[in-house]
């Protein structure tokens, strides 16, 4: 049985001091309520079972075994990865400058990699991304005419300020024998929220400027959250999925930009996705690492039809 709580004389004296109109009965009611609440809390507290050191030690043993099973599993999964895989990397491209989660750094680098530039990737990364977004469609002969970061968009006469689309790419592809114009817009958010009606404004702009064009709208975030503004056409894409798409692109090892890409992907995994990269079998959270490796390797098998990673 719980102890009957007592209100101390000092407490009552102090209460009388700060609340002098005690004689109107309100104070007595308050004290009774307080006693009731205290008694309830006391009873609740006494009901909480105590946990002994012996019990804690026994749970600890179970957890240690569980951890070592995961570490062993992780070791097996890691053996499947090449030694220069971004998951094994220790250098984050933007982390070195404390810009690991800086949106503009990421979107500019992304635009650079998607474009046909000095990195030597050609349009392979952009093509891989388009094919991921258009899963199941039979598109071929993809041509890229333009890729830009922070592309300025005019919201029209009603609005004075202009917006900037993080990444814009356009070109043509062939589908069922017909040439189709396409436009890809990517809006990335890492820590920030969308601006007021930001994606709706882009929708309006696209309505005016991308007629007779197939528009792919992508909202790129760490957790794949849905945008708060904009039309339902915005597809969500996690940074983790973007990294998975890029790491599946094969044959880049001899290109000048290969190491840039590896450092970029390591940074995305570590700084944006918060994964314990470089992943090793003795990492502090082998559970998260196993989950991620499974998802990446399963994804490789699902999309490529074989288990080869980059």
């Amino acid at each position: 049985m719980a102890m009957q709580p007592r209100i101390s004389a000092a407490f009552l004296a102090d209460l009388d001091l700060v609340c002098p109109k005690a004689d109107d009965g309100k104070l007595l009611t308050f004290v009774k309520d307080l006693e009731g609440a205290y008694a309830h809390a006391q009873t609740f507290s006494l009901q909480q079972p105590d946990i002994s050191v012996a019990e804690l030690t026994s749970i600890a043993e179970v957890l240690k075994k569980w951890r070592s099973d995961h570490q062993r599993h992780l070791q097996q999964e890691l053996a499947k990865l090449p030694c220069d895989d971004p998951l094994r990397g220790s250098v984050s491209l933007f982390g070195t400058m404390d810009y690991g989660r800086l949106e503009t750094a990421h979107t500019r680098a992304l635009a650079w990699m998607l474009d046909k530039r000095e990195h030597g990737f050609g349009i392979q990364l952009l093509e891989a991304l388009l094919r991921h977004l258009l899963k199941g469609r039979r598109i071929r002969l993809i041509h890229v005419d333009q890729v830009e970061s922070e592309y300025p968009v005019d919201y029209g006469p009603a609005r004075t300020e202009a917006g900037r689309i993080d990444v814009l790419a356009k070109g043509r592809w062939e589908e069922t024998g017909k040439e189709v114009s396409w436009l890809l817009v990517i809006e990335a958010k890492i820590d920030a929220e969308e601006g007021e009606e930001q994606l709706s404004q882009y929708d309006d702009w696209l309505e005016r400027h991308a007629q007779q064009t197939e528009v792919l709208r992508v909202f790129l975030t760490p957790d794949g959250r849905k945008p708060l503004t904009g039309s339902p056409e915005w597809q969500v894409l996690k940074f983790l999925d973007l990294a998975s798409v890029f790491r599946r692109v094969s044959g880049l090892q001899d290109t000048p930009g290969y190491h840039f890409l590896c450092y970029y992907l390591t940074g995305v995994l570590r700084d944006i996705c918060r994964l314990p990269v470089p992943i090793s079998s003795d990492c502090k959270n082998p559970y998260a690492a196993v989950d991620y490796l499974k998802s990446v390797l399963d994804n490789d098998e699902t999309e490529d039809g074989h288990g080869q990673s980059r």
Binding site: L56, A60, K65, G100, D191
Partner: protein, 202 residues
Amino acid sequence: MANLGRCVLFYLKYAAEMERLYKPVEPKVEGLLNPDRVLKQIKLVGDTANREIAELLETCLRGIEEHFHAISDVQRIRNNLEKTWELRFKVGPKNATDRRFEIGVSILEDPAALIPWVWCPGGRRAEDEVMRILGRGVKSATFPGWDSGSVGLAEIKIPIPERLEEPVEADSLVGQVQQSFASFTARDVEAIAGIASNRGDA
């Protein structure tokens, strides 16, 4: 509060396991022996650890409040310490209560540590300014998930003993937390509050 509670120490020692088994609504128990029994125990350990953490932070509270009362206008931001593991205050100069920034203490799980901090609106630039004014601190990027504008004043490691029955003194941790705020002066408060009010001009 003389020693840290055993359940807190257990929680911090097995942070990855607690994250998987205690925090989610649907814990992932794949490969775990006797999952139902373990989950019951984990729930008890986690709930107790939360209460012990709240008690530790409440102990830190008094010294911080006293110090800042003397040099500033300080107001505690009420939150559920058992859930957030974070103590927060709004601070501003005594003569200008419209210019405010925040101070607080958070508990990191990995590595297990108490982090006294300052947060000021203005992002990374504000971090640089706060560090310049105080002549110390580490940027938010050091701590995963921290908002930009935050500066850690110290990393007070919580020693995790090999055997859980070994006591870990809480008073010295509390002392270190209070010490990290002790050198704050009214002039520092004035200067940091100035960053908060000037951020639009940068």
